[in-house]
Every structure is written in structure tokens, then in C-alpha cells.
């Protein structure tokens, strides 16, 4: 009998002995006697000794203190994970352990709370996007894009997928990982150098009988809005392709929902809806579609449906259309996904319930105002081109360092580093992912920022460009 005690392990002393007696053995080691002895560990592994709870918290907190996090409102980094206000009520609800420590709701009758909350997530997102079907979540926007590309290929039995050239490098990389084994080719659609919007003429040239899907984002990676959406969707459909649109859900109080312009599939990142940035994970992959049999049959991921009791007509919720999924279809499944981001989905459901139609609209308007102000302020900075593109933006915009007449201007990395010395994270450098944009960066402004903070940003840009420390 072992003398080791741990507060997470209830079986001790007498109970352990009783259990061993039931099994007719003296020592737990005997339970491992069927394992070939050469594989049984004989040495202690290089794992630290256990610590008490307070020591663990102390050690982690000391390590995390090695991170440098700017003061509130002093980060203008976005690019797929954005700072937004998180209402406190969300945290108290989603941290209830009835939600937090449940498994996937396999046993519907005892898991109605989770099932209804996920059904409500699907429903709230469906209203925002204006499409009837939303799955119970994907891992993140990037993997949702990968799955969307595969889906368009399965449905159309075609093998090329068109994406905007100005896309998040991380998202592009994940798309590549997902599509390459399936033989789906990813092709870039060019952009208008002045507006930053999709080059529709180029799109037309690229479309052919191999095009499975056309993908664009609204707003795009550079924060640019695409206004000729109806035309783009028609062009895609005329070529027999499915149209996939990527969204930032927090923009949909003010931006037209893709369901309204006939998008077949809508994907996006739900992190803005109540989830902290957490160094980029967990996120929330949104996946929505039209109500068409051919699409529904091919959807990846879990879906919750409303039904009624077998006896009587009481309303209830179950996981449904499971014949697509891995535990039933195995190698013929539409995807291998099972665990998703359910908890982040519930977070988004609470967020959208709190904001309501008025809140999501007001929020969108405030963001537009703040970004507009930031754009104007940075525009006034000598030597800085802001915004980089002329088309309207939502919450992000590019800036670039103008080529100097006489002296050699600093690089964007120099400028960002100098600004960081003032305690500000001014933007994401774009020089490596999009060298053709010059010395450019992506700046994000949200409702977390104030005029004062934006002013500090513009002063910091000015000083950094002038070479002042």
C-alpha cells in the first residue's frame, strides 16, 4: 500500500486495501503484471516534484511576470485576435463548473443545459450572419477555412480554391496544411493596389470549371471592406463555385450580413465575442451555411438540433445529423473533428445575449468612430501613410512609412520597436508577410481605446519617425 497522499486523490488507506482485497491482490503493481517487464519504467522520469497549490500559483505567476504586457489601451495589435471589452457577467456564467467541467453532451437527457446553450449559440450566430445553419464551433477561423475549402471541393468535385492575396499568414498556412493532402489547389486573387479590395477582374480570369470555391473576407486582413459583394457572389456562382465569406462577427451590427448577399458558407473568428486574447487560444471558429441538403450533408463538426420527447411533445435538444461524423462514418466522415470549442461558443452566446441588437449596433458604431479618429490622427503624422488603402475600413487599417526625399527613413520594425519603448504596441509589422506593401504595419482600434490613448499612439509614431527616443 502506498503512503503517498494527494488532495486530488480520494482513495487512501482502508479503502485502497478493501479494493485490493476484492481483487485478491496485495499490491497495485500486480495490476500491471501483464505488461512485458522490459517496458515497465524502472527509472524516475525528469518531472519535477509536486508542489502545493499556493506554490504552483506562485511559480506560474512568477514565470508569467517575465512577460511584458502593455498598460490597458496601449496595445493596437489585432490581426485575428483582438482586444475587446468582456462583460463581467460572462465570466461568472461560463465559469460555472456545470458548464466548464462537462463532457460533450452525449447523454442528452442529463445535458439539456449545455445542449440548449449551444443551440442558442447556433441561433444567435445565425441571426447575426443571416444564415439558418451554424455548427457548434470549429477550433478557430484558420481551421474553419481549411474545412470550408475541403467542403467546397467535396460538393463540387472540383479542386481549386480561390483566396484573397491579402490574408492572414497564419490562416493561409493552416489552409495549406488542410488542403494539400486532399489535392485542393489554393490560388491567390489579386487586389486593387489603391483600394486594397479584391481585384474582381483577376477573379474573373481565375474562375474556371476547376474552381470549387471563391473565398473573400469582409473586413479583409487589412481591415478593408469589400462593397461589391453582390457582384462577386454572382460571379462565383455563375462559374459553378461555392462562395465562402470570412467575417469578424463583432462588425455585423453595422456591416451587411453575408447571408443577405447570398454567401453559401460563412466562417470567421468568434474570439471578439467575450473571449480573452490568451496569447491566441482558445479561439472560436465560426462555421455557417445555407440550408441546402448538398451542403448540410457535407458539413464538418457537431450540430445541435431541437426536437421533442419520444412520449409527449416537450421540447428538448440533441446532437444531430451525426451520420456525417467520425464516430459513425469513420474514414468516410466529413471531418475528424469531435472536441471543438463549445465553451467559447457558450461564451459568445452569453455575449450576444447581453449585447442584443442595440448593443451590437452601437458597439460597431463606436468602433467605426474610434478607428476613424485614429486614422485621421495617424494620417497627420509626417512621413506616415495612413491609411494604407483607400477603401473604407472597420476596426483595422494599414499604415506605411513614406519614402523620404533626402534621408533614409527608418524601417517599420525600427519604428515599432521605438514605440514599444514608450510602452505601446503600435501594430503588427507586415514587411515579412507582404513585402510589396513596403515598410507597413497593421493597426487595430476597438472600443477598449480612448482618445487619449490614440493621441499617445500618434505622438509616439511621430517621435519614432523623427528618430526621437
Amino acid at each position: 500500500m502506498s503512503k503517498f497522499r494527494h488532495s486530488f486523490l480520494p482513495t487512501v488507506g482502508v479503502q485502497e486495501k478493501e479494493m485490493l482485497t476484492t481483487l485478491g491482490i496485495k499490491d497495485i503493481d500486480e495490476l500491471f503484471s501483464d505488461i512485458p517487464s522490459k517496458f515497465l519504467l524502472k527509472k524516475r522520469l525528469k518531472i519535477p516534484n509536486g508542489l502545493s497549490e499556493s506554490e504552483v500559483c506562485e511559480r506560474v505567476s512568477r514565470s508569467l511576470a517575465q512577460n511584458w504586457i502593455p498598460r490597458k489601451g496601449m496595445s493596437f495589435l489585432g490581426g485575428g485576435v483582438w482586444p475587446h471589452i468582456i462583460p463581467e457577467a460572462i465570466k461568472s456564467i461560463v465559469n460555472r463548473t456545470e458548464f466548464l467541467t462537462a463532457y460533450t453532451p452525449y447523454q442528452a437527457e442529463i445535458s439539456q443545459g449545455m445542449l440548449q446553450a449551444l443551440f442558442e449559440y447556433q441561433s444567435l450566430m445565425a441571426e447575426l450572419i443571416e444564415l439558418p445553419i451554424v455548427n457548434a464551433s470549429m477550433y478557430d477561423w484558420a481551421s474553419a477555412l481549411g474545412e470550408a475549402a475541403l467542403l467546397t471541393s467535396r460538393i463540387t468535385t472540383r479542386d481549386s480554391f480561390l483566396i484573397p492575396h491579402l490574408i492572414s499568414p497564419g490562416r493561409r498556412a493552416v489552409l495549406h496544411t488542410y488542403t494539400q493532402p486532399a489535392g485542393v489547389k489554393v490560388v491567390d486573387i489579386g487586389y486593387n493596389r489603391r483600394t486594397g479590395q479584391l481585384n474582381v477582374e483577376h477573379l474573373k480570369e481565375l474562375l474556371d470549371t476547376n474552381t470549387a470555391g471563391v473565398y473573400f473576407e469582409n473586413p479583409g486582413y487589412m481591415g478593408v471592406l469589400q462593397d461589391d459583394v453582390d457582384a462577386i457572389v454572382d460571379i462565383g456562382h455563375d462559374a459553378g463555385a461555392l462562395v465562402v465569406v470570412g467575417i469578424d462577427p463583432i462588425s455585423l451590427g453595422v456591416i451587411r450580413p453575408p447571408g443577405d448577399y447570398d454567401a453559401d458558407i460563412v466562417i470567421g473568428e468568434g474570439q471578439p465575442l467575450g473571449s480573452p486574447m490568451n496569447m491566441g487560444g482558445p479561439l472560436l471558429g465560426i462555421f455557417a451555411s445555407k440550408d441546402e441538403r448538398k451542403i448540410l450533408r457535407q458539413l464538418p463538426g457537431r450540430i445541435i438540433g431541437l426536437t421533442s420527447t419520444q412520449e409527449g411533445d416537450e421540447r428538448g435538444f440533441v446532437m444531430t445529423i451525426q451520420a456525417r461524423e467520425q464516430h459513425i462514418r469513420r474514414e468516410k466522415a466529413t471531418s475528424n473533428i469531435c472536441s471543438n470549442q463549445a465553451h467559447s461558443a457558450i461564451t459568445a452566446a452569453v455575449y450576444l445575449s447581453l449585447l442584443g441588437p442595440q448593443g451590437i449596433t452601437e458597439l460597431g458604431e463606436k468602433i467605426l468612430q474610434l478607428r476613424h479618429y485614429a486614422e485621421e490622427q495617424l494620417h497627420a503624422v509626417d512621413g506616415l501613410k495612413a491609411p494604407l488603402f483607400e477603401a473604407p475600413h472597420f476596426k483595422e487599417f494599414g499604415v506605411s512609412i513614406e519614402k523620404g526625399q533626402e534621408s533614409t527613413p527608418p524601417t517599420i520594425r525600427d519604428v515599432l520597436a521605438r514605440i514599444q519603448e514608450c510602452g505601446i504596441l503600435a501594430g503588427i509589422p507586415l514587411d515579412q508577410s507582404f513585402p510589396e506593401l513596403g515598410e507597413a504595419a497593421l493597426v487595430c482600434v476597438t472600443e477598449t481605446h480612448t482618445q487619449e490613448e490614440i493621441d499617445q499612439l500618434s505622438v509616439a509614431f511621430q517621435q519614432a519617425l523623427e528618430g526621437k527616443p
Partner: protein
């Protein structure tokens, strides 16, 4: 103990909506900012403005809190009691971890920050990679995958990348999986573009070696296996299995869903496995959140390290950094650094348990599983198929076939009757090689008293099945709702996947 789950008849949040109610408070931009752009929508092209507000519900904050709190009370969770889903490893999730991730030095960290400003979290992730390698007997890990299935996909893509490099992918088209494998195994193999070849289990519930020998060929890319397998049995011929696959030029992939029994006892890397994924939301105690987020780090032996998904967290002697310069990598699986918060929780769990603690985890998990097997064995109506007398590891698979044959009460009915007694049901009808399967994984979290409550419940249910089978078939009655109509849920004419669909249907009628 008489169990009765809360039942609130809580309407959908949309049905609680009242025009004009608000549940938010947002800071106002300054007067200057508002004056500069009094009509913000004017900056959006007309064609792209939202014309009609989204039909979201309108509620005050207390009403939203009440609604979701009521829903939460209609949900079973690990903090309420035994949750013995087989291969799901539902163990205690330390509350400590939920506090740790709230640290603003983590929660407010942005993934695009320069590595020099993220040294604290990068060091933690680096150590986690090392510990996972040490625990599993691998050489290197990547923390990219956001879930077990994505970890599997990573693993199979590594197999693919390896054969591409060997110039053999054209011929090596097959991934072998046992008939008892988790459904994700064949699904992941297919996503990576492979054909799936299934090998049967023998009478002892282990891979049939002869069948394996005839299944492998020069077309074999690899074998996906979990050990202990889904019957809870340790694959005793693992050395032979590894040698057969390796001799044929294939790689061995370890499905880490069943790792809990191995902690501190055996390591997949020592048994010949080349690749592994680990479900942190199972073995390493992070909450499953009702379906995720999880995390599925993937680890490999040195010869495969160059294929790991990027970024890998590396250390150059002075600085920790995200290492993307791996030209042969299978690429990224996540937009950023994987499910970082989940990774942080697992890190804290490992140092909370320590080496001795992890060892004790597997001891108690295996003791609990065998205790249940021994007790259930003697309940009339249940049998323990495969390998009588062989100790199980993390889980045990029970067959309700005798009960079904004698009384008509099947595994599903038994599961539902367990719910009525305030216990979660085991995984049922899996693995498919067991008729009327109930797959039970108690984990180390539960005391003998809780296991005895489960045994008593099974005994009662079996007795009831023999005396009044219809009573069992009507279960559950004590949960928030009785059995649901799954056919109606999936039928094209009645299928309702959102409030929007429900409204549209109502309009049509």
C-alpha cells in the same frame, strides 16, 4: 440518495426577449471623436450597411444571468459526480487552474507580440513540451493541435511527410487501424489522404498478429494504435507489432486518448511508437467545457522532429522563441500558438502532481477500473467480454448482451437508467466489437464510495430489468427531460438547427 435534476422549462433566450431591454454598458468615445464622425455608418458604402438590426433577443443583464444559470443547473458535470465515459478520462479539473489563466500577464498577451516580451509564457510552454516528451518517451513535441483529433491529423500528416521525403508516398497509401480503434483514427487518416485498412482483434481482444502480418505490405504507411486499447487491455504483443510495421517500412502512431493508465508506468516511445498525440483535456486534467476547448500536442522521435507542426517553442541558450524555420514541417494547424490557456492549465497540473503524483494517478485509475470490473462481473445480466482474468488498465468494457437477451433491456436503457440515479452513463455501443457495449472509465478522481454507488445502481437496474423491464425502458424520468426523439431531430421535414429555422418553419405553416 434520491436524485432529481433541476427542471426549469426554460424558454429559448429569444422567447424571453422584451423590446427595449438592454444588457450591456459601453464606454462612449470622447466628444471630439463623436463630433468628427457624428454618423459613423456614413463611412460604410451604402450597399454594405446593415439595413435591419440583427434579430437578437433584448434582455437586461440579470435576465441573461438567470437564463444561463438555469440552463447550467440542467447540466451534469464532473463536479457533480462520476462521469465514466470510456476513453474520455473525465477526471477532476483543479479550480486552481481557472484562477491561473486569469493572470493578466497571460490573459492579455497577444500572439503577435514579439517573443522578447513573452519570455514567461514561452518558457512555460517550452517546459511543457519537454515534460510531455519525457512522460511519453518521445524526443520533441509541438503544442499546435487544438484538440485530440487535430493532434491525430498532425500525426498522420507527419507520416505522410516522412514518406514524401523517402520518395515512397506514391506506393505507401495505406494506414492500418484495428477494428477497436477510436472513430477519429480512420477519419484522420482519410483527411491526410490515406486509404484505411482495418485489422481484426483476436479472441483476447488484442491485435491479431497474423492478420496484421497479412495486412502490412510495401503499401503500408503506418499503423494507428492506442495502448492500452479501447477494451482497456494492454497490447502485450506490442513489440512484435512494432517490429512488423517497422520492417514493412511503416511508422507507428500512438493515439493518446488512453494515456492515463500509463503515467509513470510505461511510455509509448519505449514500446516502439514513433509519433503520439496527447489529449490534455483528458490525462492532464483540463476541463472539457462541454465539448472543448481541448489541446492535442503531438510528439515524435528525433528522426521525425523536422516534420513537427510549426511553431515549436525553442530555446537558444538565452531566449525562448517560436521556431518557424523548419522547412520540412507539415506546417501550421492553428492560426497562432494552439490553445494556449489549456496548455498553461496542464503545465500547472503537472507541477501540482509532480512525478509521484502522476504515478499515483495511473495507479488509482487502474485500481478503480479493475475494481469496477470485478464487481460488475458478478451482476447478473452483464458480462466482461474478451480476456477473462486479464487486468484492465484505464477502462473496462462491459457487455449488456445477456441482459438484453434475457429481458430486452439493452445497453442504452441501462445508460438511461443510470442517469436516473444521478450518475453519468458510460460510453455505449463502442467499441463495435462488443455487443451492447458499455465502456467504463472511472479515472482516479472517484472514491470507493462513489464507485460503490455506481455498482449498486447497475445492480438495481439489472434486477429491475429482470422483474419489470418496461420500467427500465422508460428511463430516464429524474433528469430534466425524458428520452428525446432523435429521428425527428434529423428528419429533413422536422430538422430544426436554429431559432431562425424554427421561425421560418412556423411561417410556412
Amino acid at each position: 440518495m434520491k436524485f432529481r435534476q433541476a427542471k426549469w422549462n426554460e424558454p429559448l433566450i429569444f422567447e424571453r426577449s422584451r423590446v427595449g431591454a438592454i444588457g450591456y454598458s459601453l464606454p462612449d468615445p470622447s466628444k471630439t471623436i463623436k463630433k468628427l464622425l457624428p454618423n459613423p455608418l456614413s463611412t460604410i458604402p451604402k450597399n454594405l450597411r446593415r439595413k435591419v438590426q440583427p434579430s437578437l433577443p433584448e434582455l437586461s443583464e440579470p435576465e441573461v444571468v438567470q437564463h444561463f444559470t438555469r440552463l447550467s443547473q440542467m447540466n451534469y458535470s464532473i463536479d457533480l459526480g462520476l462521469y465514466p465515459l470510456g476513453s474520455c478520462t473525465m477526471k477532476y479539473n483543479p479550480p486552481m487552474n481557472e484562477e491561473i489563466i486569469k493572470d493578466p500577464n497571460f490573459a492579455q498577451a497577444h500572439p503577435h507580440q514579439d517573443c522578447t516580451t513573452l519570455q514567461g509564457i514561452l518558457k512555460i510552454l517550452f517546459e511543457l513540451q519537454q515534460w510531455l516528451s519525457e512522460i511519453t518517451g518521445m524526443d520533441q513535441h509541438s503544442l499546435q493541435p487544438a484538440a485530440g483529433a487535430q493532434g491525430e491529423l498532425a500525426g498522420v500528416l507527419i507520416i505522410r511527410a516522412f514518406h514524401v521525403d523517402q520518395g515512397e508516398l506514391e506506393i505507401r497509401r495505406q494506414i492500418i487501424v484495428p477494428d477497436s480503434a477510436h472513430g477519429t483514427n480512420p477519419a484522420s487518416a482519410a483527411m491526410a489522404g490515406f486509404d484505411v485498412v482495418v485489422v481484426p482483434s483476436n479472441k483476447l481482444g488484442q491485435i491479431d498478429i497474423q492478420a496484421l502480418e497479412s495486412a502490412v505490405s510495401n503499401q503500408t504507411a503506418g499503423l494507428m494504435l492506442t495502448n492500452p486499447n479501447t477494451l482497456g487491455l494492454f497490447e502485450q504483443e506490442i513489440e512484435t507489432i512494432a517490429s512488423i510495421v517497422h520492417k514493412a517500412g511503416g511508422l507507428l502512431y500512438y493515439d493518446g486518448a488512453n494515456l492515463n493508465a500509463n503515467l509513470g508506468r510505461v511510455r509509448p516511445g519505449d514500446m516502439g511508437f514513433d509519433i503520439i498525440h496527447t489529449n490534455l483535456h483528458k490525462t492532464f486534467a483540463t476541463p472539457h467545457g462541454g465539448g472543448g476547448p481541448g489541446a492535442g500536442p503531438v510528439g515524435v522521435k528525433q528522426r521525425l522532429a523536422e516534420y513537427l507542426p510549426v511553431p515549436v517553442i525553442s530555446f537558444d541558450g538565452t531566449q525562448y522563441y517560436t521556431d518557424n524555420a523548419r522547412p520540412k514541417s507539415i506546417g501550421r494547424l492553428h492560426g497562432f500558438h494552439g490553445n494556449a490557456a489549456v496548455l498553461l492549465k496542464s503545465y500547472a497540473y503537472i507541477i501540482r502532481m509532480g512525478w509521484e503524483g502522476l504515478h499515483a494517478v495511473s495507479n488509482h485509475a487502474v485500481l478503480n477500473a479493475n475494481y469496477l470490473m470485478k464487481k460488475i462481473e458478478s451482476i447478473k445480466g452483464f458480462s466482461i467480454p474478451f480476456a477473462p482474468g486479464v487486468w484492465r488498465k484505464h477502462e473496462v468494457v462491459v457487455s449488456a448482451k445477456p441482459l438484453e437477451r434475457d429481458t430486452g433491456v439493452n445497453a442504452r436503457d441501462v445508460a438511461k437508467a443510470l442517469l436516473d440515479r444521478g450518475l453519468h452513463a458510460p460510453t455505449f455501443y463502442f467499441p463495435a466489437i462488443v455487443e451492447e457495449a458499455l465502456m467504463i472509465e472511472p479515472t482516479e478522481t472517484f472514491s470507493k464510495a462513489e464507485l460503490d454507488r455506481f455498482i449498486k445502481a447497475l445492480t438495481e437496474i439489472a434486477e429491475q430489468a429482470y422483474s419489470d423491464p418496461n420500467l427500465v425502458r422508460r428511463a430516464p424520468q429524474n433528469t430534466a427531460i425524458t428520452r428525446l426523439d432523435e429521428v425527428k431531430a434529423a428528419h429533413p421535414r422536422t430538422m430544426t438547427l436554429s431559432w431562425r429555422m424554427l421561425q421560418q418553419r412556423d411561417q410556412e405553416i
